[in-house]
Structure formats: structure tokens, C-alpha cells
């Protein structure tokens, strides 16, 4: 019965709190109260403590205050008879346990115990959180599983992990059972564990599970725009998780007091516990959506049962191929030693080409392999490959060919044991021995494409046929047709200018968590997430006329320099319920576009330089403006117009209209090496176009400086053109 759980959890909370207090006293004794404490790469201090208490812990003295507060939440253990109500107290004890765990984890490095070692990844930096967490929020990932302990054997561990991966569920692993850990079990099975494979080992101690909670807290603060503060704010953060993040804990093996205490903490977030052992159950709902604790669940059905208890039904597309598939397998690499066969890369010619046909020219579902099949090639051998996809549909337009083709990468990455990289004629595709041994053939690439194209684009794709050429002669024969198509598409895209169209597209795909934000996508300014361009918006509207992308008629020009049109202003005013009346497509100073939380980059004005800097969301370090990306994001996001700060897609830098109302590309004085490398030659070309062929080299990055003073010196030394443009504000 529940009282057993309550008693165990409260005992565990006391034990965890005692340990945290001892470690803290020890650290204070050694280092003093002013010693700094915190996790790497986050602007949220100790995020769980921040979310629950509103305290931004930076020094040990702050941690002392937080721990003292949390200690007060732990009630006494329920008596054997005539007990007093214990559910609320158990939840409070659980919350206190999370504070204790985070204290312990944050003190470990101060005591010389690294959080990152071997396959253990330690706490998640904000940069990864932004990238991965967004999938929880926009629905690509239904939730996460916190796996606690270890399975009876390695094989079962892999089965559970694969079951969860197949459902797109992020897997966090922590704690141990009898000295073994699930992560070690997966490691012994050779399973790749990292953020790309959705398998994230946090640490071998129970306290490491708090990193999963810290992830959840930050998801609410980052994407939900929830500000930490008092009790009400903490409650909102917990309810956000209950409503949005379909997370749960899998209790694997014996559940000791500390695990119960941790589970009680997780239940505050609406995350239920599913156990494989015969522990007491708590079936009535309320804190969680359904049951709080369900036990004795067989491993075979554990993943399915867990998502059901959490209140989700995950429908997976059934593709008749002999291996598992799903976005979680997209991040899996096929290493050389596991290789059955490969195509492309730097070894053979490999490309993919999708074209549209009249309906009657296509035999739907036809998959042909022309040339050698996998069995015909030597072990670890190489073949050329042309993936030739022909589609037909009543609403298909030739404009959509490139959009569909762009999806080939994710489609072909999803089968387990298939690795796909690149696009167009830079394809590199590998099939692993394990996949081959499971029965995977080259023809199955076609099976995947046919199923996924028809399933994912039912509005525009009615028929698909795929031909896989693996013979050099056929591949070479088709190649000129493909390259001609690529060139034609590029030309058309190049000709697409803001002046040339009369309609832009709005984008509100992220409006569920940034309700005040609306993107306006123009041919020369893609969405700030970097994932959507104007053509995508057009196609999306075609596929779903009631979806998140709506056409916006430009109407008459209000200001050609700032990029304001009457139709756009009217639309923005209506969509924001009158909060914003004007919107400039080409300015970050005057009526800039609002931002949600999922911008690829942030551009911000650098006072004293007459220029701007651009920082990408994966850059963890300091910037010349004195803030990290995470701190900047707090200023920029949340659907507000903040002059001098905008979120933007990286490729916008290359646009003719890149902040053209504010002086354009010549303003760019600092960015990250990552942005520079990604834009590379194209950026050089744009620099030349605007008459500053050496500008690329003059743009500083973090290898030059990360402070304002040296940057100003650098700009003067290289005679950066921004200096001649005058201050922006």
C-alpha cells in the first residue's frame, strides 16, 4: 500500500538530505561560503533548485540557504497506526530530495569527482537542451523516460532501450541496481549512447537522476517562457511538465528508499513510476494524469505500458522492413568495422533525385533495384547509387520536388543500422552488418521511401515509385538529369525575391508554447528556427490550409527600406491581438520581428562597435556583449519586440535583405566560428557582392576575442566597414 511508499520515500529524503548537508558542510569547510558552484553551460544556475525555490544558486552560501529551505519540507515518517495524511508530505519530501540530489551533484566537481566520465554525460548544457528539448515541445518527441537502475541482463536492457527509441522517447539513465547500470549494460551490447540516439546516460548514482529533472525544469523555463520565482511559479513549472512533457520513470530492479524519494520528487512533475518489481502501487490519479505507481510490469511490455500510464498513445508507422526504425535511430552511426556495404561518400557516386510525374505514369509502390543487391556485393564493399524517386499527386507541384527530396535524409536515417548523410549528389549511405544480417536489403530503402512519403505527405503525394540503380553505368546515365534539376531549382530559388512575390507566409508552428509570437517568412528571410523557408510555407499551406502556415498578402509598401507592408502589418496586428502593430522584415531596430524560443541564432547590437554580433545556439561561451546565448535568449524570446535583439535562421545572413534596413551585412562584426564555417564560401561571395571582398576575414569570432574592448581594437585594426556606418541606435 501507499503508506509503505510514503514511509520509504520520507526516510529516503531524510537520508539524501543528510548526505547533501554533510557534503555541503564539508565543501564550505574547505572552500568557504563564497566558493562558486554550478553546472557547466547553463544560464539556469542549479536549474531544479531555481525552479522549485526561485533561488539562483551561484555560491555555496546560496546553496546553504536552498538546502535549509528544502530540509523544512520533509515531514516525519508516517506512524504505524493512526497515521496523519502523508501524500502531500511525501511529495514535499520528494521535492526536497531533488534539491538534495542537485546539491550533491553540484558539489561533486568541487570534491574532485567529475560528472562527465566514460559514457556518463553529466548535466545537459543549455545548448543541447535547446536543440533536443524543443522536440519535446513541438511534438517530435513525446517525452522522456528516466530509467532508474539496471535490468536483469544486458539483452533486456537493449530491448527496453530499443522499445523506447522506436517510440521517439528520449531515454535518460541514472542510478544503479546491485552495482550495475543500464548504461553499462547498453555499453556492453555496443549500443551507441548520445543525444543523437536519444540514449543519455547521466550518472551511476541515484542523485544523477536530478539532471533529468533539471532538463524538465529548463524545458519549462526555456520553451514555456515560465519564470522561476515563488511557490506559484514553481507550481506552474510543474504543471507545464504534467501537461506537456510526457515523461515517466522506469524503476528497474530493487527500489530502495532513495529511489522512492526521487520518484516522489518526479511525481510532483506528473511523471509516474513504472516498476518491473513487485512494489506497492498507487493507482488513484491526480498528481499524475493517471496512476502514480504501477508495478510488476513485464519487460516486454514495459515501454508500451509506460506511455499508456503517462496518458499517451503513440502511433508508429508500420513499415515492412526487418529492422526497427524511428527518429531515435537517425543519430546512430554505422562505423567502418560494422559495415556491410556503403554508397557514396568519397568513394563512389551516389545521389538522390526526386521528380514528379503525371498520375498515369507511375505504378504506385513499385520498387526496383537495378544492378547488384546487397548479397551480390563483398563484405564491407562499395557500390554507386542513384535513388530515383518518382511521385505523382493531384496537388503535387514541381516546386515541391525539392522539399520532398530534402526529407530523404531523415527517412533513410530512421531504419536502425542505416546511416544516411548529405543530400543531392553528396550522399553517403551505409548499411550495417547487423541490419543486413537481419534481412535488410537495398530494396528496403525503397520500401521506406514509399511508405514515408505517402504517410508524411498524404495531401500532395498519391503515388510513389522508387528505382535504386547500383550499377555504375545506370548511375552515370541518370546523373546529368539530376544535376540539371538541381541547377534549375537553385536558379529558381535565386530568382525568388521579396519583390517578385505578392504573398508571404506566416508561421505559427511553435505558437503552442510561444503564444505571442508569429513568424513572417519571406523569400529572402527564412524562419528564425532555420527550418522553414518561404517555399516550405507555401507547400505547408497547400498540404494543410488550416495549419500553422497562412498566406499573408503583402499589400502596399509602407517602407521599402525597413521592409514594411500594409498587409503584413495588418496581419501581425490581428495575429498578436493588437500587441504589435508594425513589423519590419529588414530591421532589428525598428519594429523588429518577435522571437519564440527556438531561434537558430541571435543577432544583437554591440554598442560601441557600430555593428552587430550573431551567436548560434550551440555556442556555449561568452560573447562580446557580455552574455551567453542562454542569457541573450531570455532577453530575446517570449514573443516580445526587443529592439536590438532578434532571433534568426543562420541562412538569413546570406540574404540580400539581411538587415538591409540597418546597414546590412557590413554591420556584422562578430560571430561564432561555427556560423562562419557553415556559411563559408557563400558568405565570402556575399561579402564580395556588397563590395567588401575581405569582410569575411574581418569578422571576428571567439578565436579572436570574446570581450568588447579587444573587439573594438580588432575592428579598428582591420578597418572593419561597420566603423564607417555610424552607431545603430
Amino acid at each position: 500500500m501507499s503508506k509503505i511508499i510514503a514511509a520509504a520515500a520520507i526516510r529516503g529524503a531524510h537520508a539524501c538530505m543528510d548526505r547533501a548537508e554533510r557534503m555541503l558542510a564539508d565543501a564550505v569547510g574547505r572552500l568557504g561560503r563564497d566558493a562558486q558552484v554550478g553546472f557547466e553551460g547553463t544560464a539556469y544556475a542549479l536549474p531544479t533548485i531555481l525552479a522549485l525555490t526561485g533561488r539562483r544558486v551561484e555560491r555555496l552560501r546560496d546553496l546553504e540557504d536552498a538546502v535549509a529551505e528544502a530540509h523544512g519540507w520533509i515531514p516525519s515518517v508516517p506512524t504505524d497506526s493512526t497515521w496523519l495524511p502523508y501524500l502531500g508530505g511525501t511529495l514535499d519530501a520528494g521535492a526536497a530530495t531533488l534539491v538534495a540530489h542537485e546539491t550533491v551533484e553540484s558539489l561533486k566537481p568541487l570534491g574532485g569527482i567529475p560528472l562527465v566520465s566514460g559514457f556518463w554525460l553529466g548535466p545537459t548544457p543549455d545548448s543541447i537542451l535547446r536543440e533536443q528539448g524543443i522536440k519535446l515541445v513541438d511534438g517530435r518527441m513525446p517525452g522522456f523516460a528516466a530509467c532508474v537502475g539496471a535490468l536483469p541482463d544486458d539483452e533486456t536492457a537493449e530491448q527496453i532501450a530499443r522499445d523506447l527509441q522506436e517510440r521517439n522517447i528520449l531515454v535518460f539513465m541514472g542510478s544503479h541496481t546491485n552495482g550495475d547500470t543500464m548504461a553499462a549494460q547498453l555499453n556492453r551490447r555496443g549500443v551507441q549512447m548520445n543525444w543523437e540516439t536519444f540514449l543519455v546516460p547521466y550518472g551511476p548514482d541515484t542523485s544523477s537522476l536530478v539532471h533529468a529533472i533539471g532538463f524538465a525544469c529548463r524545458a519549462a523555463m526555456t520553451f514555456g517562457g515560465l519564470k522561476p520565482g515563488g511557490l506559484k511559479e514553481a507550481r506552474d513549472i510543474l504543471l507545464y511538465n504534467k501537461r506537456r512533457v510526457f515523461a515517466f520513470a522506469l524503476a528497474l530492479g530493487e527500489v530502495d528508499d532513495e529511489k522512492y524519494a526521487t520518484a516522489a520528487g518526479a511525481i510532483n512533475f506528473g511523471f509516474p513510476v513504472i516498476a518491473d518489481t513487485d512494489i506497492p502501487q498507487i493507482l488513484p490519479s491526480g498528481i499524475c494524469t493517471y496512476e502514480h505507481v504501477v508495478s510488476n510490469v513485464p519487460h516486454k511490455s514495459m515501454a508500451a505500458r509506460a506511455v499508456e500510464v503517462r496518458g499517451v498513445k503513440i502511433r508508429t508507422v508500420d513499415i515492412p522492413i526487418p529492422v526497427r526504425h524511428g527518429p531515435a535511430f537517425e543519430g546512430e552511426r554505422v562505423r567502418k568495422e560494422d559495415l556491410a556495404i556503403e554508397f557514396g561518400g568519397k568513394y563512389t557516386r551516389a545521389f538522390e533525385y526526386l521528380t514528379s510525374r503525371p498520375m498515369d505514369r507511375i505504378e504506385d509502390g513499385l520498387i526496383r533495384v537495378v544492378g547488384p543487391e546487397i548479397a551480390d556485393a563483398p563484405e564491407g564493399g562499395r557500390l554507386p547509387l542513384a535513388i530515383f524517386i518518382e511521385v505523382a499527386g493531384r496537388k503535387m507541384q514541381s516546386e515541391f520536388e525539392s522539399i520532398l527530396e530534402r526529407h530523404v535524409h531523415s527517412f533513410l536515417s530512421e531504419p536502425m543500422g542505416v546511416m544516411h548523410l548529405g543530400q543531392r549528389d553528396s550522399v553517403w549511405l551505409r548499411i550495417s552488418r547487423k541490419a543486413r544480417d537481419a534481412g535488410f536489403r537495398i530494396s528496403h530503402l525503397g520500401t521506406v521511401l514509399v511508405h514515408k512519403l505517402k504517410n508524411d505527405f498524404p495531401a500532395i503525394v498519391d503515388k510513389v515509385q522508387v528505382t535504386l540503380f547500383t550499377d555504375a553505368a545506370d548511375v552515370d546515365a541518370l546523373y546529368p538529369t539530376a544535376t540539371a534539376a538541381y541547377a534549375y531549382r537553385d536558379e529558381r530559388m535565386g530568382a525568388l525575391t521579396d519583390e517578385a512575390v505578392d504573398t508571404f507566409y506566416s508561421c505559427a508552428l511553435c505558437q503552442s508554447y510561444a503564444p505571442n509570437h508569429i513568424c513572417i517568412i519571406t523569400p529572402e528571410r527564412l524562419g528564425l528556427c532555420g527550418a522553414y523557408n518561404w517555399l516550405d510555407g507555401k507547400a505547408a499551406f497547400e498540404m494543410n490550409p488550416h495549419g500553422g502556415n497562412q498566406p499573408v498578402r503583402k499589400g502596399e509598401v509602407v517602407d521599402p527600406v525597413l521592409g514594411q507592408w500594409k498587409g503584413v502589418n495588418d496581419f501581425v496586428s490581428t495575429a498578436s491581438n493588437g500587441a504589435f502593430e508594425r513589423f519590419s522584415a529588414y530591421s532589428m531596430i525598428t519594429d523588429p520581428m518577435t522571437s519564440c524560443g527556438c531561434f537558430e541564432c541571435i543577432a544583437c547590437v554591440l554598442p560601441g562597435t557600430s555593428g552587430i554580433m550573431i551567436v548560434d545556439r550551440e555556442y556555449p561561451g561568452q560573447t562580446p556583449v557580455g552574455m551567453t546565448f542562454s542569457s541573450l535568449a531570455e532577453l530575446t524570446g517570449g514573443g516580445q519586440q526587443t529592439p536590438g535583439f532578434i532571433g534568426m535562421g543562420t541562412l538569413y545572413v546570406l540574404s540580400r535583405q539581411f538587415l538591409s534596413g540597418d546597414g546590412g551585412l557590413a554591420r556584422l562584426v562578430w560571430t561564432t566560428t561555427k556560423v562562419k564555417e557553415r556559411l563559408g564560401d557563400k558568405l565570402r561571395a556575399r561579402c564580395s557582392e556588397i563590395g567588401h571582398p575581405d569582410l569575411y576575414e574581418k569578422i571576428a569570432d571567439e578565436t579572436v576575442c570574446t570581450d568588447l574592448e579587444p573587439l573594438i581594437e580588432h575592428l579598428a585594426a582591420v578597418e572593419h566597414p561597420a566603423l564607417g556606418l555610424g552607431e545603430m541606435i
Binding site: 508530505g89 511534438g139 491526480g286 498513445k313 537517425e330 505527405f457
Partner: protein, 680 residues
């Protein structure tokens, strides 16, 4: 055969049965004996058709249609019944409300600082109330705020227009019904006076109009006087928390000074509890040969000091004489309401002193030590000293303390239940609401009220409560009804394992609560209204009180206050079983209105019955009707047996990987997975 007294039909409580036998040996005349002597009761009076309002009568209407059908003035049986009922409501409302006025006075006293010994113990509640009453709080001292609140509340009693401030807590739908019906309470005293005026000879002659006016007065009690009393007591003496104690005569201590507090208001009894802990008085008790000072309660004073101090409960209304008859009580202090005038006579069987303390209530034969808030501490210490003196006169050979006493957990309120259900972060009624919605708990029923000599003590209370919890109904209780359950062990959390239906049991086990929640004294019925408000506000099982799967019952109603409470429950939209049948039997019109038509007007109605099983069936049917109307899930168990509901009631969020372009989302996972090529 000396056992001529049929004790089993006098009380179902074994402790009471033992003392009743001892009473016979002592030759004491108890309430039961007086009740027997009174038989047969006046049939006209029972039906409510006896009118003595003016001095031309008394008149009585012949219920068989043979004699007079109207009174001398022309009043019909319907009008006479309605008028008698209305006057009972006015009296009941007056009792609760004067209790409220009294404690508001204590708050005023406390806010003045001074030496009264009272102070604001619960500033959190004070600030919440200040916000509600529009009293500025920022930058002001607790006492300043308390003073203003006390003045505002005092003014509420004499308020003439608009709506009572606490009545604005009622859900909007219910307030609209009141407005439409013209029964929104404008003031407290005003509604009592208004009703007494209407019920005077030759004023309101329409029985229905009179009953509606009575509802307005009742609302001024429930949402006015009672609610203010509860709120102020929580401010002054602390908001209750779940607390352990024991109940029944077994709590009397053989070796300690036994001081019983009886009546209703906690102002003095709180002081007595404090005084009983004073070192010098404890020393005095030791000198007198006692091992300590034991304060235990009777009736609603017991509930007040139980809820906040965990003081043991000696018993409910019908235990007041029995406690004295044990010979173990040294002093009983009484204030107002439900205090039998017989007490000094009963006390004279032993050494026991009876002390009356209220300026409202003098008891011939008792010593009167008047309680005044400004010298409360002194009065309390004086009374404790008297009790110690009395102890020295106790004759141990005449002491017969029954062994019976049961463990209990009490102290639940609308403020702390959400905490117990969800903790500091997730506080709220969601787990309870979910349990109701999912068919684990059928509903929530308030079982309240007195003892009456018309049925064996506690028989109806226990029968009703046991039946309801077995049918997965969560029971909340106040008053003497709560004490009945306490004595029977139903307020122990273990009772969930022993008596609750399987669904309710699961919920009780998850939360750690008994299946029967003690929420206080009879003015604390306002707490139940507050819980209803919170359930509506949290949403999910009804958008108005009348939509909730809830009901109320007064199974052993005795006092006019019970009539007022029952009527404010009905006027607030609550189905209310009331037994025994009050004096409405003589009027078809009144019964039809109160048991039928009124439901269309307020959403609530009465069920009058003598039969406790009929009450059970009526309540269960009502809960099921409300469940059906709300389209709640079918019950997971019926009659304690699991119901195979086929697909369990679970609405799963249909998760599908976003397709097409939306599958790209805003994060561009693609770009990243493209970025990590293997090194070879």
C-alpha cells in the same frame, strides 16, 4: 432483574450504555428518562400545525380534516407550518451568528494588544481575509489589519444592503439563482429581523414566500455568521491541521483533574487549555494529589479544541449528562447552545461543579463566572483553580469511567486539504476530483448535526456513515455527528481498510486519510461550503454546487440550528437528507416545496425521512444522478465488487510523429544529424 432500562435502545455507544446503568443505580434522572416521561409527544406539535403566535389562540389544525382547518386568524396549516419553521430558522441563524459576533469581538480585543492574552495566531489567514474584505495590508501591522477586519466584520452584522461579503465566495451560478429568487443575504441581523417580522401574526401569509425569506436568513447564517465565526477563529486560534486524539468517556483520567468544556465558542476553552499548562496551576494540581489537568470536551466546544489543540473528546450532545454521572468530572464549564439546564441537578449526584460563563446563558444551580475577553486569562485560571479544588472532593469509590475511547484523526479544513492532497507545490483538490471523475469515489457527503432522543444515540449517524463509505462515498463531518463517528473509530485512517469500499479505500490509502473527515464544529459547516466552492473552482465535477456529486445529511437533528443549516445547504444547491422529519408533516405545500419545487429554484432540496436506509438510498441515487448528468465514468465498484467497465476510462493523448513539413519542427534536427559523420 434490575436491568429494566433498555440501554441498547437508548444509545449504541457501549460507554453510554454502561453509564446509563450506573445512572439507574445512582437514581439519576437523565434526558432519556425525561424523554420517556414526556411520551406521548403532542401530535399536533410534531406535525407543526400548532400555532401560538398570537394570544387569541393557541390554535391547532386537525390533520384528519374533521376539526378546524384554519386558525382563528384564518391561517392555514401550510402557513402555520411554514411560520413555525421560519421562526426556528431565525433562532438557529441567530445562535450561529451571535457566536460569530462574539469571536469578532475577541478579534477586536486581540487587535488592541492589551493583556487579554489573545493575539492573531494565523497571520496568513488574516492577510487572505484582509484581501477579500478590501482591507489594505501592505506596510501595516498585523494588529492594525486585524482591527480593521474586526470592524468590517462587525459592520457586516448590521449591514442593510447589497450582498454579504463572504457570500460573494459562492460560485457565480449559485449567486445568480439567489439574485433571481431575491434571496441574496443583505446582512446578518437584518435577515433575522426580517424573517421574525414576516413570521409575526398577520404579516407574511404566503407559505412559499415565507420559506424563501427563511432561506435568505439561513444563507446569512451559512455564508455570513457561521463563515465569519470559522474564519475569525482560524485567525485567532490558528488554522487547524490534521491532528491525533481520542474520543469517548474513556478519555477521562482517574488520576487527573478532569475539566470538561461544553458548549460552542472556543474563546474561553482555548484559554482554559493554555491555563491547564501553566506551571503554577499544574503544581497546584499535584499538591491536590492529581497527576495532571485533563481538559476534554463535549459537543462543539470539544470539536473546536480538538481541531486546533488535539484535546480529547469526552462525547457528543447526549454525553453531557453521562460524563457528569461517571463521577470523574471535577468541573464542567459551559457557555452557549445545547447546554441542558439539567446539568447542575445531574452534577449533584457527585462532587462535580458546573460553571456557566456566558452573559447569554445563566444556568440556575451552576456557579456563574462571567467570561469577558479582556480578562480571559484570569477567568480561565480561576476556573482551573476551581476544578483543582473540586478534585479534592472527588470520591474515587463512586467513580465509574468506561474504558471505551477510540483513536481519531481530525483537523481537516478547506485550507489544509489541498496541501494534504498535493503537497506544497501541487496543492489542490485534483486527486479527489480525479477520484470522483474516474469512479473510485462516488461523491462527497457531509454528515452533520446533533443527537436526538428520538433515536438511540448515534444509531443513525453510524448506520448512515458506514453505509456511505462502503459505497465509496467520502464522508465529511462536523458537530456531534463527527463525534459519533470518532467514538466508533471511523475517524481512524485504519477505518478505510476496515469499512471503506474498494475505490474509496484506494484513495484513502494513497493520501493517508480516514474515509471520514472531521472538519470541525457546527459553525464549521461553513468549511464544507468552502470546500464546495473550491471543488467548483478547480473544475471537473460540476460547474456549480448543485452540479457536484455531493449531498448532506443531518441524521439525528435536534436543534433549531440544524434547521437553519439544512435550509442554507438546500438554498446553496445541496441535496439534504434530514431525519427525523422536522415539524413539516402537517403541510403538503411545505413538504412539496422543500422536498421538490425548491430544487428548480436553488438546485438543492430536502429529503425528510424517519428511515435511515431511505436516506442512504436517496443520497446514493442523488449522487448517481449527478454523476450521470456530468457524464462521469461509471463507478469502478458497485456494492464493493469490481465492475468490468470494459475499456478502462482513460483518454490517451493521441501522439503521432508530426508529419510532412511540420515534422521538421522548429529545431532542424536534420542539420545536426547531418553534421556528425563518422571519422572514417
Amino acid at each position: 432483574m434490575g436491568n429494566k432500562v433498555d440501554v441498547k435502545n437508548r444509545s449504541v455507544d457501549p460507554a453510554a450504555q454502561q453509564v446509563l446503568l450506573y445512572a439507574r443505580d445512582l437514581g439519576a434522572v437523565t434526558a432519556w428518562d425525561r424523554h420517556d416521561a414526556m411520551q406521548p409527544l403532542c401530535g399536533f406539535g410534531e406535525l407543526g400545525v400548532c400555532c401560538h403566535l398570537c394570544y387569541m389562540g393557541p390554535c391547532r389544525i386537525d390533520p384528519f380534516g374533521e376539526g378546524a382547518q384554519v386558525g382563528i386568524c384564518g391561517a392555514s396549516a401550510d402557513l402555520i407550518v411554514a411560520r413555525n419553521l421560519a421562526r426556528a430558522v431565525a433562532s438557529g441563524a441567530a445562535a450561529h451568528s451571535d457566536h460569530g459576533r462574539e469571536v469578532v469581538g475577541v478579534l477586536r480585543e486581540a487587535s488592541a494588544g492589551g493583556s487579554s492574552g489573545y493575539r492573531v495566531v494565523n497571520p496568513t489567514r488574516l492577510l487572505a481575509l484582509a484581501a477579500e474584505w478590501g482591507i489594505p495590508a501592505s506596510g501595516r501591522s498585523v494588529n492594525d489589519i486585524a482591527g480593521d477586519l474586526a470592524r468590517a466584520m462587525t459592520a457586516e452584522f448590521g449591514r442593510q444592503e447589497g450582498s454579504l461579503t463572504p457570500a460573494l465566495r459562492a460560485p457565480e451560478g449559485q449567486r445568480r439563482r439567489w439574485d433571481a429568487l431575491g434571496i441574496t443575504p443583505r446582512g446578518i441581523d437584518r435577515e433575522i429581523v426580517d424573517l421574525l417580522h414576516r413570521a409575526h401574526h398577520g404579516v407574511e401569509s404566503d407559505p412559499i414566500a415565507l420559506l424563501r425569506a427563511a432561506m435568505r436568513t439561513a444563507l446569512a447564517d451559512g455564508w455570513g455568521g457561521s463563515m465569519i465565526a470559522t474564519d475569525v477563529q482560524d485567525v485567532l486560534f490558528g488554522g487547524p491541521t490534521a491532528i491525533r486524539s481520542r474520543a469517548n468517556l474513556g478519555v477521562l483520567q482517574e488520576r487527573q483533574v478532569n475539566l470538561l468544556v461544553h458548549g460552542h465558542e472556543p474563546a474561553l476553552s482555548e484559554m482554559l487549555v493554555r491555563a491547564s499548562r501553566d506551571a503554577d496551576l499544574l503544581a497546584l494540581a499535584r499538591e491536590a494529589g492529581a497527576e495532571g489537568i485533563n481538559i476534554a470536551g463535549i459537543c462543539c466546544t470539544a470539536n473546536e479544541v480538538l481541531m486546533r489543540q488535539g484535546m480529547p473528546v469526552a462525547g457528543n450532545y447526549l454525553h453531557q449528562e453521562l460524563a457528569l454521572l461517571t463521577g470523574a468530572v471535577d468541573l464542567m464549564v459551559v457557555d452557549v447552545q445545547c447546554v441542558m439546564p439539567s446539568l447542575p441537578t445531574i452534577a449533584s449526584c457527585h462532587h462535580t461543579s458546573v460553571v456557566s460563563t456566558s452573559a447569554h446563558a445563566h444556568v440556575p444551580g451552576a456557579e456563574h463566572i462571567e467570561f469577558e475577553p479582556h480578562r480571559a486569562k484570569d477567568v480561565a485560571r480561576q476556573i482551573v483553580r476551581r476544578a483543582v479544588e473540586a478534585f479534592t472532593r472527588r470520591d474515587p469509590s463512586r467513580v465509574r469511567i468506561p474504558r471505551e475511547s477510540a483513536d481519531l484523526v481530525a483537523g481537516f479544513t478547506n485550507e489544509n486539504l489541498p496541501q494534504y492532497l498535493g503537497g506544497r507545490f501541487r496543492s489542490g483538490y485534483r486527486p479527489l476530483i480525479d477520484a470522483v471523475a474516474a469512479g473510485r469515489v462516488r461523491g462527497v457527503v457531509a454528515v452533520v448535526g446533533c443527537n436526538t432522543l428520538k433515536v438511540a444515540q448515534d444509531r443513525h449517524h453510524l448506520a448512515l456513515v458506514r453505509r456511505l463509505i462502503a459505497e465509496d462515498v467520502l464522508v465529511v463531518q462536523t458537530g456531534c455527528s463527527a463525534i459519533a463517528s470518532a467514538k466508533a473509530g471511523l475517524l481512524r485512517p485504519e477505518a478505510a481498510l476496515e469499512h471503506a469500499g474498494p475505490g474509496l479505500r484506494e484513495v484513502c490509502e494513497a493520501v493517508g486519510i480516514p474515509p471520514v473527515l472531521h472538519v470541525g464544529s457546527c459553525v464549521d459547516n461553513s468549511r464544507i461550503l468552502s470546500v464546495c466552492v473550491a471543488l467548483v473552482a478547480e473544475g471537473g465535477i460540476g460547474a456549480d454546487i448543485s452540479e457536484l456529486p455531493i449531498a448532506a445529511a443531518a441524521p439525528e437533528a435536534m436543534s433549531e440550528k440544524a434547521i437553519a443549516i439544512g435550509l442554507y445547504a438546500v438554498a446553496s444547491g445541496v441535496f439534504t437528507a434530514f431525519l427525523p422529519v422536522p415539524r413539516v408533516g402537517g403541510s403538503r405545500v411545505v413538504r412539496e416545496y422543500l422536498e421538490g419545487t425548491v430544487e428548480r429554484e436553488t438546485g438543492g432540496r430536502f429529503l425528510f425521512t424517519e428511515d435511515v436506509e431511505e436516506a442512504v438510498q436517496g443520497i446514493l441515487a442523488h449522487l448517481d444522478r449527478k454523476r450521470t448528468a456530468l457524464k462521469l465514468a461509471p463507478m469502478l465498484h458497485e456494492g464493493g465488487v469490481p465492475v468490468d467497465a470494459g475499456a478502462a476510462s482513460r483518454s490517451l493523448v493521441d501522439y503521432e510523429t508530426p508529419r510532412g513539413l511540420e515534422g521538421l519542427g522548429c529545431g532542424k534536427a536534420q542539420a545536426r544529424s547531418q553534421a556528425r559523420a563518422p571519422r572514417d
